[in-house]
C-alpha cells in the first residue's frame, strides 16, 4: 500500500512541475487535453464501471456544459468562466431528464437510448440556431495567452474529480453502486433504492462531464454541435478511455486518457514527423484493435489487469 502512495506523490509532483520544465505549448496542450479526458473518462467510469450503466451518450453532458459556458457569453454577455460554475449543474439538470427517460431500460437498451439521446441533442443544437448559433458555432477569445492557468485549472479539476470518486466509492454509496451493477434486482430486493442511487451516480457523473465541457469552451475557445456532441469523438472516445484504462478502477480512466490521447496524436502527426504521411489516419485502426485486444485479453483494462500485464510483459512475479 505504501509504495502505491509514493508513486502517486511522485506523479503528483511531476504533474505540478511539468509545464515549468516542458515549456513547449504543443506538449502542454496535449497534456491539458489528456487531463480533460481524465475527468470525462472518470465521470463515465463512475456511472458505467462502478454502477454498471453503460452510457453511450456522455457527449450529452459534455456538450451541454460547453454550450452553457458558450451561451452565457453569446446571449447574456458574461464571461464564459461563469460556465465553469454553471456547466456542471446545468448538465445535472439534463441528467435528471435522461435518467427519468432511460433508467427504466436495462443494459444494452440503456446504452442505445443514451446514444439516441446524444444524437437528438446534437441535431437540436444544430437546428436551434437562435439559441446555439447552429453550425456557426461559438467563438470566444481565450482569457490567457499562456497555457499555464489552463493547465493548473484542469489539473486541479482532474485531481478533484478522482478524489471525489475515490471518496464516493469508499462510502456506502460505493457499495450500493456496485451492488446495482452486479445484480440490480437482488439489490432492489435487499431494500436498496436502485433508482435513487443510479440517479445519484448519474448526477455526479454528469456534473464532472459538464464541468469538463465548460472548461473546453474556455480553453479551446471554439465549439459547434459537431465538435462537442460528437458520437465518435466524444461519446465513443469516453468509452475507449474507460475500458482501455480499466473500468471500475480509480486510476484506470486516468491511465486510459493518456494512452488514447498519446496514441491519437502520435498517429495524427505521423509519429511526430518521422513516419510517412498516410499513417496519420492510422490511430482509428489502432483504437479499434486496442478495443478488441483489451476486451479479449485484458477486460479490466491496463490498471485493472496490471498484475496480469506485469506477469506477461515484464516477467515480474506479482
Amino acid at each position: 500500500m505504501k509504495s502505491r502512495n509514493v508513486t502517486l506523490i511522485v506523479l503528483g509532483i511531476l504533474f505540478l512541475l511539468f509545464p515549468l520544465i516542458i515549456r513547449s505549448d504543443y506538449y502542454q496542450h496535449l497534456v491539458i487535453i489528456a487531463l480533460m479526458w481524465v475527468i470525462i473518462g472518470s465521470s463515465w467510469n463512475l456511472l458505467a464501471g462502478y454502477t454498471g450503466q453503460v452510457s453511450f451518450g456522455h457527449a450529452i453532458f459534455f456538450g451541454v456544459g460547453a454550450y452553457t459556458a458558450g451561451i452565457l457569453t453569446t446571449k447574456l454577455h458574461i464571461s464564459a468562466w461563469w460556465g465553469m460554475l454553471f456547466g456542471g449543474p446545468v448538465a445535472m439538470l439534463i441528467a435528471l431528464f435522461v435518467g427519468w427517460a432511460c433508467f427504466r431500460l436495462r443494459g444494452p437498451y440503456f446504452a442505445l437510448a443514451t446514444l439516441a439521446g446524444s444524437e437528438i441533442i446534437r441535431l437540436v443544437a444544430t437546428n436551434w440556431e437562435s439559441l446555439t448559433d447552429g453550425m456557426v458555432g461559438i467563438l470566444i477569445i481565450q482569457s490567457f495567452r499562456s497555457k499555464l492557468p489552463y493547465y493548473y485549472m484542469v489539473l486541479a479539476l482532474a485531481g478533484a474529480c478522482i478524489y471525489v470518486i475515490h471518496l464516493v466509492m469508499k462510502s456506502k454509496w460505493g457499495y450500493y453502486f456496485v451492488s446495482i451493477r452486479e445484480d440490480q434486482d437482488a439489490a432492489e430486493s435487499l431494500g436498496i433504492n436502485t433508482t435513487l442511487y443510479k440517479n445519484i451516480s448519474l448526477l455526479i457523473s454528469a456534473f464532472f462531464a459538464g464541468t469538463a465541457g465548460a472548461f473546453y469552451m474556455n480553453y479551446m475557445a471554439f465549439i459547434d454541435p459537431h465538435v462537442v456532441f460528437s458520437l465518435h469523438y466524444i461519446s465513443i472516445m469516453t468509452i475507449l478511455v474507460g475500458i482501455v484504462g480499466g473500468v471500475a478502477t480509480i486510476m484506470g480512466p486516468a491511465v486510459g486518457a493518456f494512452i488514447m490521447v498519446g496514441v491519437q496524436e502520435t498517429f495524427r502527426s505521423a509519429f511526430f514527423g518521422l513516419a510517412p504521411k498516410w499513417i496519420s489516419q492510422g490511430h482509428a485502426l489502432v483504437f479499434g484493435l486496442l478495443v478488441i485486444f483489451v476486451i479479449l485479453f485484458m477486460a479490466n483494462g491496463v490498471v485493472g489487469d496490471w498484475a496480469k500485464i506485469k506477469r506477461y510483459v515484464f516477467r515480474i512475479k506479482a
Binding site: P108, L112, A116, E119, I243, A284, V291, A299
Partner: protein, 291 residues
Amino acid sequence: MTVFLQTLVAGVLIGGIYSLIGIGMSLIMGVMGIINLAHGQLMMVAMYITLVLFNFLHLDPYFSLLIAMPCLFLLGVFLQRFLLNPLMKIESILPENQVLMTVGIGMVLTEIARFIFSSDYKSVKTSYSSSAFFIGNISFNVPMCIAFFFALALTVLLFWFLLKTDTGRSIRATAQDKDAATLMGVNTGRITVITFGLGSSLVAAAGCLLLPIFYLFPDIGGPFTLKAFVITILGGLGSTVGAIVGGVVLGIAESLGATYIGMGYKEMVGFVIFVLVLIFLPGGLKRLTKV
C-alpha cells in the same frame, strides 16, 4: 395530395431497404441477445465487394448479391466464432463488453476499408441507376423498387427457412431459451455462429441493393447501424415480419418528417421514435400484433 402520395411512396421504398438492414440485426439480437454495433460496417464491406466486382468484372450489383452474401456469411461466422463467442466465457467486471467488442470490430473494418480504398466517395453507374417510371404523377425509382421486392423475397425466404427447416427451428429454439435448446440436443454454439453469419449476409444483400442508389465511403456504416436498431426495437426482437413493418414505418416516418417538419430534422425522427418505443413500448410492435 401528390406531395403526400409521393412522400409516402418514397418512404415505403426506402423502407424496404431499411427492413433488409434491420432484419439481420433483429435476428442476431433475438437469437443471441448480441447488440451488434458493427452491423452497418458489415454492410459497408459487402458494398466494397460489390464495387470491386463491378469495377473489375463488370458484374451487375444484383448479381453480386450471389457473391457478397456468402462472403459476408463467412465473415460473420468468423467474427462470431473467434471474437464474440469467447466473450461468453470471460468473467469480467466490464459491463456490456460484447457491445464494446462490436464497436472495436466496426472501427477496424472501417479503417481497413479506408486504407484499401481511401476516403473517396465511390459509386457504381448502372444504366438504371436513376431511372424511374411513373404511375400517374407519382415517380417510382427503379432500383429502389427492385430493392424493395428483393427485400420482400428475402424476408419470405427467411421466414420459410426459420419455420420449415431444421436449422431454422434450432435457431428459433435457441432464441426462445438457450439452455433448454442445449438440453434438447441443439448445438447452440454452432447455431449462434450460423445466426451471426445469416444476419451478416442479409445486411450484405441490403448493401448490394443500396449501392446503385447511393454511394460508398468507409464511414457509411454508422448511421445505418443506428437505423437498424430503431427498426429492430420497433418491430420487436427476432421478428421477421416486425422488421419489415419496422423498416417501412421508419421510412415513412422519415419521409413525412422531411416533407412536413423539415429536412434538417429527418435524422431526428428515427431517434425520437427509437427513444419513445424503448420507453413506452418495450417489445416493439410485435407486442401489439403477437406474431
